[in-house]
Symmetry: D3
Subunit: 136 residues, 6 copies
């Protein structure tokens, strides 16, 4: 039986939900107030979970200081106090929904975490709305 280790981090960003293949009317109908052309924003909180075996010498699944540094260098530095649509390479053509943001964070961190660890991302857009990837 393995152990899951989790670290919660935050970033504050602006975003807009919009599909450029659609008319303004359809965008407004589907995305409602999230389609505001001047953007709105959120305090995003996200939990990064690594599943593995504790090291017998340290008792650690992974060093939390190192995990926090990895998250800050590869995610927060690029997303915090940014406009997700305009200031990041990830959402130039991808709609920055909570679902897509969680999947992007997963893909970024997957490159920096040894594959012996299972990786999961839970993202809160608000206290009431959240997503988890992968779901299982």
């Amino acid at each position: 039986m393995k152990v899951a280790l989790s670290r919660k981090e935050h970033f504050n960003a602006a975003h807009r939900l919009h599909n450029p293949a659609w008319s303004d009317e359809k965008n407004k109908e589907v995305f409602g107030k999230c389609n505001n052309p001047h953007y709105h924003g959120h305090n995003y909180a996200f939990i990064v979970t690594l599943i593995g075996d504790p090291d017998p010498d340290t008792g650690y699944v992974f060093d939390l200081k190192l995990l926090s540094d990895l998250i800050n260098e590869n995610v927060i530095k690029h997303f915090d106090h940014k406009n997700l649509n305009l200031d990041t390479v990830y959402f130039k053509t991808l709609n920055p929904t909570a679902e897509n943001i969680a999947m992007v964070i997963w893909r970024i961190l997957r490159q920096h975490i040894d594959n012996k660890y299972e990786l999961k991302i839970k993202l809160y857009e608000t206290e009431r709305n959240s997503v988890e990837y992968p779901a299982h």
Copy 2:
């Protein structure tokens, strides 16, 4: 790999735990202060989770506004500011434990959510006591 999308909602209700097949003594012994014949109550919080694939056009697993409307129309309207034992059809003969309330909410919403989505309910009776259905 699929994405889990979650929405947190609330209702405030009175309830009483009681098994009519038992004597008053046995009810008191098993359910303790939760058996108070005049009822007590809780601020129930519950999280509805849908597991599926994000739509390529929207980036949504499911529209959260629509999900919230479904929950309000089919659950909250019937449970909020109600006596669960006396005012709802669901707990006339079913004991309104946290376990049973979560299963009832699951059964109600399952009828309104396409079967391509896996559905889960997590219910908090208090900040310290919660249940999840199904468990896996």
Copy 3:
């Protein structure tokens, strides 16, 4: 300059807002869904604050274990898992609004706390609705 010492406690109770001097129509109009004759309920949280000088020998304004015992004996034992309207002497003729519950808790505890301490009660009926007595 004095120090404020606070202790948070909880009780879960049913209640109904109703003014017996009014018609059913007026009660329904003024109190809305809180007037449900079968009651509804809440997880009430309340914070008891004592303002005084730390004792030079202990560094305590007041012993928190003793404060918690006083609150449990005089408030929680009477309110937890009860119907505030039917099961307590305090709300037989007083409407159990958040305002009145906070004032009743203040009056109860004032009798057990030396007058050298200023006493304040903050009560949360829900996470979003709260009252404080006295306000200053």
Copy 4:
């Protein structure tokens, strides 16, 4: 002794801190990452407090349903899912710092709340950063 009644509400918005009388360098130096020209955003939470006497007929300082409606109509409708700098009349020439947002909300609501009530606004920009107006 009066009673304080509080209601917590939320809005999600984009903003940018910027003083147009200053050079870009000075703005960047003073406001740091909050000066991002493409905006960033927050889940703002704010608590509106009214201080007054409970009405003897209702036990209410103020009807919370009415207070919530007033806040939604006069604050949230204008601020939620908006760019505070571009989409509101309030921050065309006023920097949307937490301090100024709290004072603007106070000024808006002061016009709709009878002067017999003292009014206070507490605003959380993040879980760790908050302001209160007036301070006493």
Copy 5:
């Protein structure tokens, strides 16, 4: 489909991360400020989850009062207001990392919970750092 029932509990304790097989330098390098020889401490929160079928007579997966008593008697009594390294039998030779504390709590409770229930422990060392055992 089974139901998961969870109970959240707390203890406050001192601890130090240290591997006696290593030099002081290596301990300092690996465990950083957590290696402080005079100890530091945390408010640990942990959630005990039992997965099973609700009893048809009670609607309970497990009696929460009984579960809380089991946790208090077998875990909290031994860990609360203790130095985990010096005052408990469990961490004499085992490093009290969050991972190991969660696994120890699981092993303790596993002896007191019928094997028909699946058992899981989630432990929060801080609001941002947590572990879960078993992970699946």
Copy 6:
């Protein structure tokens, strides 16, 4: 009317409540489990509040980045992952109760914050136990 600006910070520390002028029996009787000679610990959270006038050029009462740096340099660096009794100069002869910790933090920060600002400290030892200095 002035504005209150608040910043929440954290430190994790071990401590022991003990009065060396008293016998072991009296210490045990007064401080109970907090008197454990091997120490216990907490995740302390504290909120630093400055009351002043917003600067007309910035809209800031005080720069929160500067405030956070001041708190980190003068409080957190000395208290985090420390034994308050053994590792700090402040509690060599002063009992590290929540009351005294809050007053010590106030005295430290008062030297670094211009007297034109009123200063207040709120400290949480646990989620349920907190102190505020000064009380008014």
